[in-house]
Symmetry: C2
Subunit: 220 residues, 2 copies
DNA sequence: ACCTGAACACCGTTCAAGT
DNA sequence: ACCTGAACACCGTTCAAGT
């Protein structure tokens, strides 16, 4: 009956069977209760999913690796994005739920506050921080959303994808075949590659305006 | 009974009611047929969704704006990503289906081939082209995946989000409140901002290796 | 007050039976 | 050979009835 127990069980169930096979009946059964009882705590399945998203966001701080006081804002921003990405990778089936609603729950707000604090104390202007965090958060969640496509039943692992493009008719798909051997080795590598590009781009962009870009100690 | 008519009706139905409310019965009814007949053409609902994704990808070329022969690869790459993003924006409820499977259908292959052709003929090495296209494609689809979150029932429009963050307790969420007035004005603007960052990053990255980055006429 | 079995109006998928 | 009504085993959500 404690609400937190329901949410924890819901997270576990989504992790195990995915949002598609998740059902109120299954959840009620696991809690040795009935669906009608669940509806006294939550208005709908969707509301439970929102709580699941918030619960998962609560794990982000655990994946935040310590950064030295001398770390640049670039290093700090990459650390934050990486913590979010690693959290989502631990709950691959949950990620799609992030695309239904903006995470306005307490853990979502806390994650945003922590990240914005790091950026502001690293010398970002409020405007630059808002744009940087928003784009990095959307980039990270967007990439993680596609994790599911690489865990299906087709030739959908790194090696299989390369082989598939390589096996196409070179007369019909010359450019695709030519580049097939050079495809990124994993969505992970690609995520880091793109994240670095964005941070590089932010560095260039910020250097062009009077916003201070020199690192300053975080939360001294 | 022609298979293309079924797919066209499926796209229309997903556009209208979303994947959640889409049902085989509803589709059969629109086609004045029965669900059992649908199963003689497609093995499952999932297979129909795969065809819907491919059909939508077929619209990308229509959104490709003409680029001058003197256009840089940066301009060409942005044009390609923008065409994909605009296509997905026209089918916001379809986008989530992109996250279930890699688009290996004929239209998906054609879109990839066109984009890779542009990059290769713009002077990219096969390796640089593969990495650049993959990261840009995932970036674009990832961003578009989150379009749904900004069309819900909460305070989920640009103005409402700003107001929500602005109304938080400044003592508890100082960094969030400080940056609230500067949030990007729309997911559109943010998409273009991030895309520019990635292209800027690619420019820096490519300048550091012997890969030619000078524009050359496309498909002369 | 708190809980729940059973019901309602749906699903995806299959199959025996019709033309 | 091609189609389909009806069935099967499920859904989310509600509500009358029980303690």
């Amino acid at each position: 009956m404690p609400i937190e127990r329901v949410i924890a069980a819901a997270v576990k169930l989504v992790d195990e069977v995915g949002p598609g096979d998740f059902s109120m009946r299954l959840l009620a059964q696991r809690l040795q209760s009935s669906t009608a009882t669940l509806y006294r705590h939550f208005a709908s399945k969707d509301e439970i999913f929102a709580e699941v998203v918030d619960h998962v966001l609560g794990e982000v701080p655990r994946h935040l690796t310590d950064t030295a006081d001398t770390a640049t804002w670039q290093e700090r921003l990459i650390t934050i994005a990486d913590a979010l990405f690693r959290t989502l990778k631990k709950h691959p089936t949950v990620v799609s739920l992030f695309n239904d609603h903006i995470p306005f729950g307490p853990q979502g707000l806390a994650a945003r506050e922590t990240a914005m604090g790091v950026l502001l104390s690293s010398g970002f202007s409020p405007e630059a921080a808002a744009k940087a965090y928003t784009v990095v958060a959307h980039y990270t969640i967007g990439f993680a959303s596609q994790l599911g496509a690489y865990a299906g039943d087709g030739p959908e692992d790194d090696q299989g994808i390369r082989e598939f493009y390589d096996s196409l008719d070179p007369a019909r798909y010359p450019a695709t075949v030519a580049s097939a051997p050079f495809l990124p080795s994993s969505l992970d590598d690609e995520f880091r590659f793109g994240l670095q590009l964005i941070v590089d781009g932010l560095t260039t962009q910020l250097a062009a305006v009077p916003t201070p870009t020199t690192p300053s100690p975080h939360r001294r």
